[in-house]
């Protein structure tokens, strides 16, 4: 049951990260076109700047949980690698719980802050609301990745 749930969640995380990843190309081409247009023809792309910002937010927020899945978020393991298994597991469980706490706070506040702010981008008047909600979506997936790590640590402790 749990294994199935985990499988589905992690697949979703990967799929969403691929969606985010794809935005690197429009970001690259749009910025190049904008620069070339401005330098050569004195005609920059209207709103290129803010579209790039929004694309960056999709790119990163959808990638946050994937980065955790791949254990990319840097940590120092020099001490806990040298401790007895039980002690290192206990410590890891505590630090993972703290990470989960702060990510949960961020995800919850993602909705609150998104609702409170009714901001639109300067030039194209695009509403930031849906993009801001990605803080919550990315946060929830990140939270679940930490939850899976927690289960792994707990299992290691029992063994």
């Amino acid at each position: 049951m749990f294994g199935k749930f985990r499988n589905i969640v992690q697949k979703t995380t990967r799929a969403l990260s691929y969606v985010g990843m794809a935005f690197i190309f429009p970001m690259m081409l749009l910025t190049s076109t904008d620069a070339a247009g401005r330098d050569i023809f004195s005609r920059p792309v209207r709103g290129a700047f803010e579209m790039s910002s929004l694309m960056l937010s999709i790119f990163i927020l959808l990638g946050l949980a994937y980065a955790q899945q791949m254990k990319d978020h840097v940590r120092v393991t020099i001490l806990i690698d040298r401790l007895p298994v039980r002690l290192s597991c206990t410590i890891s469980i505590i630090t993972t719980l703290l990470s989960m706490f702060i990510v949960a706070a961020m995800s919850w506040q993602g909705v609150v802050v998104a609702i409170e702010s009714s901001s639109v981008t300067d030039m194209l008047r695009i509403s930031q609301f849906p993009f801001r909600l990605l803080v919550t979506l990315g946060g929830i997936l990140l939270f679940l990745e930490f939850l899976f790590d927690l289960v792994d640590e707990a299992r290691r402790f029992v063994e």
């Binding site: 990260s17 985010g20 990843m21 794809a22 690197i24 970001m27 690259m28 749009l30 910025t31 190049s32 904008d34 620069a35 070339a36 330098d39 700047f49 803010e50 790039s52 910002s53 929004l54 694309m55 960056l56 937010s57 790119f59 990163i60 990638g63 946050l64 994937y66 980065a67 990319d72 978020h73 840097v74 940590r75 120092v76 393991t77 020099i78 001490l79 806990i80 290192s88 410590i91 630090t95 993972t96 703290l98 990470s99 706490f101 702060i102 990510v103 706070a105 961020m106 995800s107 919850w108 506040q109 993602g110 609150v112 802050v113 930031q128 993009f131 801001r132 803080v135 919550t136 946060g139």
Partner: protein
């Protein structure tokens, strides 16, 4: 308010270090302690929204697009087959130099660094090309792996460099100027590394047997061809920033697009390579920006605690030369570099260190170069030198200990360059001063 804010701030700083050494991911440790600190010094209601709004502001901040773009540009450069050509070209010119293959490795690393912003990528890609060659000619494994680990660090100093981007963001300095200021120090460090190799082989001729086969001038001239691609790209991208033609973000986008086209036209662009480049860009950027978001929450807490201002005041009131203080900061960086990676080190220390540097009237660009240089040292200092592990991953059958021993002599080069930059800051500052704006 219950307690002295400075006291809470110090507790918080200790707390972050404790959590980091207990293995909590650094980004989340900083965000967590920042959150708790703001809750204590202000209120929970004030602290809660800071987490989400800081995250949003970080990931939607246009100048940060430079990070994924620089990373993907480096990946495209790696998959376009540039490294093999570069190495072959340098080798033709350095064959008569003692330790010629190792010197060529350093040179090719420096040239590749001019199109790649990551030192790990530089060490990994050059390692796969240069190591088998040095093995074939019976080089001492310490010399061969050490020169790759050290050469790889050039990726961090020679622009494009993610290190300068993050430094610029955290300290509100012009990223363009920072990138440009890394050019001369990078070249200087490259020569210093080459000098270490030559001295090593002079002292221990057995470490690098001379290759007997001579190279004709014709071959040497033809070899220059292998350098033209990265050189052109560097002049275009970094030259474009220097001339004020592009912002760093635009330069990165234009550079990446150009390389993508080159790889496509050369038929080196495969789906797996493209996918790898995208994944790499996403993973590195997500990691770096999460760190920056965590650091921003933590900085907010630090600012509330008034520690940065107090520390700067205290340091300026000391009756010692400012250079003694810089030397102490650099020493701390050297020690921290043994345990932390470069970007983490920057985000952790700059909120407090940077105000001190400003209060002592040092040039922020100059300090950026010095700080980046020290973080390069961190890449090759055990036990947590990232480049050491990278080379260990590429060099099958060579122990980590050998690599550590091989990389250590190159630390001397970094320290000498840091010293030279302190005595002659113009090495770093000449080019950015000539820039417009």
């Amino acid at each position: 308010m219950i307690a002295d804010p400075v006291f809470i701030g110090i507790l918080g700083a200790l707390g972050v270090f404790l959590l980091i050494f207990l293995g909590m991911p650094i980004a989340f440790a900083m965000m967590f302690v920042g959150f708790v600190g703001i809750s204590v010094l202000s209120s929970v209601d004030a602290a809660l929204p800071v987490t989400a709004s800081t995250m949003w502001e970080t990931v939607s901040f246009y100048p940060y697009t430079v990070i994924p773009l620089f990373v993907i540009m480096g990946s495209f450069a790696g998959s376009s087959g540039m490294t093999t050509e570069l190495y072959a070209s340098f080798e033709k010119w350095t064959r008569r130099v003692p330790g010629g293959l190792a010197v060529a490795t350093i040179g090719a690393c420096g040239a590749f660094a001019a199109v790649s912003g990551s030192s790990v990528a530089t060490a990994a890609t050059m390692g796969t090309v240069a190591l088998p060659e040095m093995e074939r000619f019976k080089y001492d494994p310490r010399l061969s792996t050490g020169s790759i680990a050290a050469g790889g660090t050039l990726g961090f100093l020679i622009p494009p460099s993610i290190g300068f981007v993050v430094y610029g963001m955290l300290t509100e300095q012009s990223i363009g100027k920072l990138l440009i200021s890394g050019v001369f120090p990078g070249i200087l460090l490259m020569f210093a590394y080459a000098f270490v190799v030559v001295m090593w082989v002079k002292l221990q001729p057995g470490a690098a047997p001379m290759i007997a086969e001579p190279v004709s001038w014709k071959e040497k001239i033809r070899a220059v061809n292998g350098v033209k691609e990265p050189l052109f790209l560097f002049l275009f991208v970094i030259g474009g920033i220097y001339a004020g033609l592009f912002t760093p973000d635009e330069a990165a986008a234009v550079g990446a697009t150009t390389l993508l086209l080159v790889a496509f036209l050369k038929r080196k662009l495969t789906w797996p390579a493209l996918f790898k480049a995208m994944t790499e860009s996403l993973r590195i950027s997500a990691m770096v920006l999460m760190l920056v978001a965590g650091a921003n929450v933590f900085s907010y807490f630090m600012a509330l605690s008034t520690i940065p201002v107090q520390a700067a005041n205290w340091v300026t009131s000391l009756q010692v030369s400012p250079y003694v203080i810089v030397a102490m900061i650099l020493f701390i960086y050297l020690v921290l570099g043994c345990f932390l990676d470069a970007i983490s080190m920057m985000v952790l220390t700059l909120p407090v260190v940077f105000p001190i540097i400003l209060a002592l009237h040092f040039d922020p660009l100059w300090f950026g170069v010095i700080a980046v240089l020290m973080m390069e040292a961190g890449l090759i200092t055990p036990p947590m030198g990232l480049n050491l592990f990278t080379v260990a991953g590429v060099a099958k059958g060579i122990s980590l200990e050998t690599i550590i021993k091989g990389a250590t002599p190159f630390l001397a080069a970094i320290i000498v360059v840091a010293f030279l930059l302190t005595v002659f800051p113009e090495i770093a500052l000449y080019l950015p001063r000539m820039m417009k704006g």
